[in-house]
């Protein structure tokens, strides 16, 4: 074990590993923070669809010979707002419509990528991400976004909760529901867009949904729930990265597997608490 510990310490001294841990912690914090409201507003599938659809944004970037990172963020925001607009007006079922949107945008994205020979082998990177490839600029952007998310949730917390609990009562209190909801969706799409490089198209929604669900099982008060959700997002990121380094496993999937472990533990604790009551 000391040998393993030494190995982890040596790995953590490497700059790329430090950036990877910081990047995954920032993503875990942002995912947990926004995820707390995402699952209660039943937007989990929306975040999943958003993650999958970013592949289309990346493909467009490649086709236009632009850096995909620059295309990804505006694409994510515009895509999220358009989808939200459609969802508010459709007579179809939300999950069915989201399924159409995400599967078709994924399909179109892959077809577009197939036109670029040099990217045919890179699909796996896009699907599962590469947290070890996180650069200083990515970290800086994630840190700024985390501050913006925390500021937004913190300053509008009470309105956000009332809006989540009972929308007509929130409107009657003077909460600008439309503005709050739009701002939340823009932040969610930015978090998804920023995290795709590290976490990948397929796994990003796990960062938003799993820590929040685990936190819900452990919380009775809303304020605690949000803090626990963000905390579990960060803790699972660190633990997942350490497991990844220790057993030489892929980083993103290791973090998601850790989130699953924490969720199962939370479910057991919750059940035990109910039985003990």
């Amino acid at each position: 074990m000391p040998t393993e510990l030494t190995r982890i310490i040596e790995l953590l001294e490497l700059p790329f590993m430090q950036r990877a841990v910081m990047g995954s912690v920032l993503t875990g914090l942002m995912g947990g923070l926004l995820g707390s409201f995402t699952i209660l507003r039943q937007l989990s599938f929306f975040s999943d669809a958003l993650g999958h659809s970013t592949l289309l944004g990346i493909s467009i970037g490649f086709l236009l010979s632009l850096d995909p990172s620059w295309v990804l963020l505006p694409f994510s925001v515009i895509f999220a707002l358009v989808v939200n607009y459609i969802l508010e007006r459709t007579q179809l079922w939300t999950d069915a419509l989201l399924n159409i949107i995400y599967s078709s945008s994924l399909a179109i994205g892959i077809i577009l990528l197939s036109f670029r020979d040099e990217y045919r082998g890179g699909i796996t990177h896009l699907l599962f991400g590469d947290v070890l490839a996180v650069q200083k600029a990515d970290l800086a952007f994630s840190a700024v976004l985390l501050v913006v998310c925390a500021g937004f949730i913190g300053l509008t917390l009470r309105s956000q909760i009332l809006l989540t609990l009972h929308e007509p009562m929130a409107i009657a209190r003077g909460v600008d529901v439309s503005a709050q909801r739009t701002a939340f969706i823009v932040l969610l799409s930015l978090v998804v867009g920023v995290s795709i490089k590290a976490i990948g198209v397929l796994l990003i929604s796990a960062f938003i949904v799993i820590p929040a669900c685990a936190a819900r099982l452990l919380s009775r008060q809303f304020n605690h729930y949000i803090l626990i959700s963000a905390g579990l997002g960060a803790v699972s990121a660190v633990m997942g990265m350490l497991l990844s380094a220790l057993f030489d496993l892929p980083s993103g999937p290791s973090i998601v597997a850790t989130q699953l472990g924490i969720f199962l533990l939370a479910a057991l604790l919750s059940k035990a608490r109910i039985l003990a009551a």
Binding site: L40, G154, L155, T156, L157, R158, S159, I161, L162, T164, L165, H166, P168, M169, I171, A172, R173, G174, V175, R216, S219, R220, Q221, F222, N223, H224, Y225
Partner: protein
């Protein structure tokens, strides 16, 4: 007559292409309990939602404490603070982790950006006092989802009175309560109204309660059909206008 808290002039509200409320005018004076009655589909809930800005209105004028409500539903935050609303169905997703104290505390908060810990001790004291007044202090740490119907209504009344209000709007607030719980709810509501000096505007189907407890009655079916004291508005010929000639009210003395 007391100063009007709410003045409605020629209000028309559409639901899609359908005018659910047409050219409605009335006034709610300070400290007066006004009931809105009428058959299902008469536009009562639509009217209430338009007065709160939940629905936009197409024409007419609404003034709350002298301030105009915009067609899209904007009122200055300070005026909003003076209104409390109890909806017809307060169905909370039981998966949302919220305690009684948290819910009542949100009734105290001002609208707009604020720090999560804003209010501090003053907020905690206001929550404690409000819960004590409705005899629900013992429920303070309970999740909202674990409350009975009667307990939920008590907590919602605490949400209303946690801060001084001028106007309380209820849309069939006791819906879902049994006879005893409904009677207790109204008893508490009217006790609080006397103490707080609230003007109340409430949608109700309970004509006996309206007769017993309300000061004024608006009878509507998309338009105002009659308005007056309970004795005037609940007279058989007036009720027949709204509900049809088949409706007969029996008064009993037991």
């Amino acid at each position: 007559m007391n100063d009007p808290v709410l003045v409605v002039q020629g209000l028309t509200v559409h639901r899609g292409a359908y005018a659910a409320v047409q050219d409605v005018s009335f006034t709610v004076p300070s400290g007066v309990d006004t009931a809105i009655i009428g058959p299902n589909g008469a536009g009562k809930s639509t009217l209430v939602q338009a007065l709160l800005g939940i629905l936009p209105h197409q024409s007419g004028e609404v003034r709350v404490l002298g301030h105009p409500l915009s067609a899209k539903g904007y009122l200055p935050p300070a005026v909003r603070q003076q209104i409390a609303y109890l909806p017809q169905n307060f169905l909370v997703d039981h998966r949302i982790p919220i305690t009684v104290s948290e819910l009542v505390g949100w009734g105290w908060d001002r609208v707009g950006p604020q720090l999560p810990w804003a209010g501090g001790r003053a907020r905690r004291l206001a929550v404690r006092d409000a819960l004590a007044k409705v005899e629900a202090w013992r429920l303070r740490d309970q999740p909202i989802s674990s409350l009975s119907g009667g307990e939920t209504k008590r907590v919602l009344l605490a949400y209303c009175l946690v801060r001084p209000r001028a106007l309380l709007i209820l849309d069939e607030a006791p819906a879902g309560l049994d006879v005893v719980a409904e009677s207790e709810f109204y008893e508490l509501l009217h006790q609080l109204k006397r103490e707080q000096g609230w003007a109340i505007l409430q949608v109700s189907h309970d004509l006996d309660m309206v007769q017993r407890s309300c000061d004024r009655v608006l009878c509507m079916n998309r338009r105002i059909l009659c308005e007056g004291t309970p004795d005037q508005a609940l007279a058989p010929e007036q009720l027949a206008l709204a509900y049809g000639p088949e409706l007969v009210r029996y008064k009993h003395s037991c």
